[in-house]
């Protein structure tokens, strides 16, 4: 699933490890989310949004593909 987590993380000047520590997961999980290879729970999505000060829409919204 495509998302903007990587962009947001870089804008917030965080490394994968720092973001992982903030939201309480491993760095590998953050890496997989950024690559779109892991589907995070809504809870974790929200944690990431809080950590980078952005909304769910900004990070995870994709327009529906027709």
């Amino acid at each position: 699933m495509r998302n903007n987590v990587k962009m947001a993380r870089i804008q917030s000047d965080l490394t994968q490890q720092q973001l992982a520590d903030k939201v309480g997961v491993t760095r590998q999980t953050i890496s997989l989310i950024e690559k779109g290879k892991y589907n995070p729970t809504l809870k974790l999505c929200l944690e990431i949004c809080y950590a980078v000060n952005q909304s769910l829409d900004q990070l995870f919204w994709n327009d529906q593909e027709e």
Partner: protein, 144 residues
């Protein structure tokens, strides 16, 4: 050392447990099959492993009842639920019939044995019917 609460790893852990469960079940089935082939089915059933197998199958079945969904769309409004005492009476009836069958049937059990059989059948039916009763009750409450 910090405890990691990574949801991805927890999920992975569950998947690993599932695989271990499959392996274990295959092992148990292999043991039982071997016993059946070498010593007969009656002997295999006396093996405590048989109990473990049946118990886990029952637990799995019961847990799966909770995640099942209605396979058909109920077009009629849900019927009003029968009160709980009807469930008890029905189970009691089945228990008494089983008891009579044990006394009068080919087994010719004495009264105590028949009472035991009847009580066990009563308990089994009561447990199952109660479970269904409360599932239905919850369903009715949810649909309101």
């Amino acid at each position: 050392m910090k405890i990691i609460k990574d949801e991805r790893l927890q999920l992975q852990n569950l998947k690993n447990i599932r695989i271990a469960f499959i392996v274990q079940t295959i092992g148990i089935l292999a043991i039982l099959l071997y016993e059946t082939l070498t010593a007969g089915f009656t002997q295999a059933r006396e093996n405590p492993v048989w109990l473990v197998f049946m118990l886990s199958a029952i637990v799995l079945g019961w847990l799966n009842l909770r995640i099942s969904v209605d396979t058909y769309e109920d077009t009629n409004p849900p019927k009003k639920q029968a009160p709980y005492y009807r469930v008890v009476i029905l189970s009691l009836g089945i228990g008494i019939v089983t008891m009579l069958l044990a006394i009068l049937g080919p087994d010719k059990s004495n009264f105590n044995e028949a009472l035991l059989v009847g009580a066990i059948v009563f308990a089994c039916f009561l447990a199952t019917f109660s479970f269904v009763h409360f599932l239905r009750k919850k369903q009715v409450e949810d649909s309101e």
